[in-house]
């Protein structure tokens, strides 16, 4: 278990170890072809892109508009799972070829999270609940005890990086927490509408933040068990995503279609509007912070990826023009040779 923890620390998504020697690869789930409708020909490349050392992006694998999130095997980055339109998919060659692991009962998986300390355990957010496996995807089961019959639309799911067996889910009816001891979901926050994102701080294991559709931005300082609304932020419209500074545990960034980009330096007490330098239609869709360089990656819908090397003070067009990015996924270039157990 200890070994897993070390491995996880080195490889966790979005983890902040920029000062270490560990480097991270950036994978992107997104679509360039915004003109796509079901059945039409793909005119451009969609699906998975990987950042190259020269900061360009190369497309990997199949051209598919329906890949929303990825979970990499920390022992073997060629082995990757995807949350997709067609259910859960897996690849054993780093995303070049895929197999749909689930059947017609599973559709439109929105997010996927692997327990970094027990990678055999994978959790998937679905429009009608939560799916999981405890055998590295050989078998999948509905994992919904404790979820309501209705209100279990799940948009976000994240395994606790520090506490194995603890998972947080963002659903229509609130935030739910799953623990190894209870083996069921418990609602820890009741929401007016869908929770759109949940993220754990890479520097403070007890700090979690949730972006919501109608409940503003929620924060927890006790590992996700208790939540309070962050003041001084509008909550009439949806907040989509959160990303943390890799070095400063008091600084994080949140984004919204309506409000654009906001950054706090004091754990949410005050906020700065960081839309200067972004297009007027700053429909911010997804944000992430590079664990190595602390660079912010921001997707503005139908525009491109913007980056900021001064944490939101200025922005530069970075690439993937016309894109709609579903997720930025950083993975460590360090893998372990341990066999799965």
């Amino acid at each position: 278990m200890y070994k897993y923890l070390i491995l996880f620390i080195a490889s966790s998504v979005g983890a902040a170890f920029g000062s270490s020697d560990a480097k991270h690869e950036l994978y992107i789930c997104g679509n360039i072809n915004l003109n796509y409708v079901t059945g039409s020909k793909y005119l451009t490349l969609n699906g998975i892109y990987r950042r190259e050392p020269n900061e360009s992006y190369i497309h990997i694998g199949q051209n598919f508009t329906g890949i929303y999130d990825l979970a990499f095997d920390p022992f073997d980055h060629n082995h990757v799972f995807a949350a997709s339109m067609n259910g859960v998919m897996s690849s054993k060659d780093n995303g070049k070829n895929w197999r749909v692991e689930t059947d017609w009962r599973v559709t439109e998986a929105k997010a996927i999270s692997m327990d970094p300390q027990a990678p055999k355990n994978i959790y998937v957010a679905l429009p009608d609940g939560i799916l999981s496996t405890n055998d590295f995807g050989k078998t999948w089961v509905r994992n919904e005890e404790g979820l309501p019959v209705r209100g279990k639309y799940t948009q976000a799911i994240k395994c606790d990086r520090y506490n194995t067996g603890v998972v947080l889910a963002g659903c229509e009816s609130g935030i739910y927490i799953f623990t190894k001891s209870t083996k069921k979901w418990t609602r820890v926050f009741s929401s007016k509408a869908t929770i759109l994102d949940i993220q754990q701080s890479p520097l403070d294991e007890n700090l979690w933040i949730a972006a919501t559709e109608l409940d503003g931005v929620q924060i927890s300082h006790d590992g996700g068990f208790n939540w309070r609304k962050i003041n001084n932020l509008a909550s009439d419209h949806a907040w989509y995503n959160i990303a943390y500074d890799s070095y400063n545990k008091n600084r994080f960034v949140i984004v919204s279609w309506t409000y654009g980009v906001f950054i706090t330096e004091d754990s949410g007490l005050t906020w700065t509007n960081c839309n200067a330098g972004l297009p007027k239609e700053h429909q911010a869709y997804k944000v992430a912070v590079d664990p190595d360089t602390n660079r912010i990656y921001l997707s503005i819908l139908k525009d491109c990826i913007y980056t900021s090397d001064d944490f939101g003070k200025s922005w530069t067009k970075n690439g993937l023009s016309g894109s709609n990015i579903y997720n930025f996924i950083f993975i460590s270039d360090v893998t372990d040779s341990l066999p799965h157990s």
Partner: protein
Amino acid sequence: MKARSILLVIFSLLFCLSLNAQPSFRGIAPTQAVIKNTVLRREAYESRINEVLAWYSGFNHKDDPTTASISIIAAKLARHEDLAYCDRSVISLMKEPGSGPFWMFPSAEIALLGQGQLSAEAQKSIRKGWKTQIQTRGDTENHWLMYYTSLYLMSELYPHEAGDTWYNGKSSDENLAESKEYIISWIGLVTSVGQGEYNPTHYIGEYAIPMLMLATYAKDSSMKQRGHMILDLLFADLAESSINGVLHAPNSRTDDKSVIEHWNSLSSFFTWLLYGNTPAPYGYASWGGMFAALASNYEVPDVIYRIAVDRSVTYLQKDLKRTRRRWRNSDVLMGRIYKTNYTTLDYAVGSYQGGLSDPIQTHVWDVTWAVPDPRDKHNTMFSVHPISSNADLQTYFTDPPDEMVQRVMFELKPSYDWEGKFLGGSRYEQVMQNLDTIIALYDIPADVRFGHINGFFSKDLADLTVDKSGWIFARGGNAYLAYRPLAPYTFNVISRLKPWLPGIASDNWDKRLYSPYRKNGTILQVASSKEFKDFQAFKNAILALPLSYKLDPQPSVSFTSLRGNNLVFTYGKIGTVNGNEMDYSKWKLYESPYLNSESKSNVITITYGQLKRVLNFNTMSITDTSN
């Protein structure tokens, strides 16, 4: 450059289309004469099939296979002609495979039709497309049926092949098993709880074509039988829900053109082909060719044909259907839909109650009057609340909240956020129907986008009269119409021309009744002209009917209909008829003189006079009797 090339191809194709006469579209409208002789009827059916295939096959693209459409190839394969051209075209088309059910079923149909005709190289090119290009399953019921039926048949065609030879990494055996399971599950749902995408004006093709493929090519006899039986059910429902071959309301899904010009839809291709009682739509509404290529393998049952073409007897039809899947904002995954049709020789009044079938394209209620030739006719009247709502879209879709409206408008639903639209239902509309009377009530919260009602008044109405009582009278064919708005309104010419609306706007064109009041309502009473000495007598009868209503705090109506029934309906409450609350709990899956089925029985009985066909989906058997 590529866009220019595509435009050139489109214009070339349109030019070629214009050169190719389409007799059933250009010619005299069919009469409503019944062909009782089954041999002659079959000959007429085959003749119509041949017309479609000849039309598609007649496009001469022999020198340029890149301009071929899949329908042209299907027609030529069905006629066993120009095989070298078909080979070249298939190979060319398969260089860039499509990406989902709308590519899967045509390519599967070509592969199946091409057995023994296409070269090994051409067949291999199709098979390769099914390996290299991942196929999206989509998110609607029709997507899934196309997807799994196509995958099922392709897996049968290429059995026991390994997972790495298929786009989804699953072996032929795995794909076959999963597809079969889904198809059986879907059929079980349709025949016990009801169809989700019921009576669609266009999407009927997306059900009928895959099911005909299944009925034609499935090697598993039970699956073949399932395809056949579902076709019977789809077409019996179509027969019962159309008037002179024109499908009328309610519709789970329709579109901006068809909601006004009902005939102008793919459903009319099917009524034309199967029953011969309406002109064919232009270009056979696009997908018609894919059905026609296999249509000789289907026999229209006598009992269904008779239901389609006989409107001599007035009938009431009550069916159970269900909504599209509701992911959020609902206590149930699929809501119940209670569909009512009242059909006479001269008109049909239809509606559904129970909730929103579909957030974008549903059509909740209307009267559709019979016309001898429906081409360019807007033979309908109804009102809608033209809502635009992210919350509604979120209920049925899994996309993020803010972009949904823009996305659906891009995805071929351009009118969604237009205040002038006539397409779509609303959570804030509640409808009660009793025979040929409709009461529609609206209570639209202040924060809902578009707080007005649009009433559709056709260019084809005659004697449109606004009475000082508040009633609006008009004639539509042989139907007398009385429309009562419950709040002030103006008539607006639909002058803001939209490319998705049929025809060209002018002062004599369709009109929109615009009523900018959030608490609102419409009463519609229809009757046949034969019931009255003249139009004035109808007006007098309507004016004599007891009516009271109020709009605050909730819209509420008490109206004694032309049929003598006292109807009381208050927004938010169940309506009463002569003091008795309408009891939806007792509704059956189908209940009418023609289609009958107990809910959850999986057995549907189709009846016309002495003719009876029982579709038993428990035993997968068809039983015909003609006592």
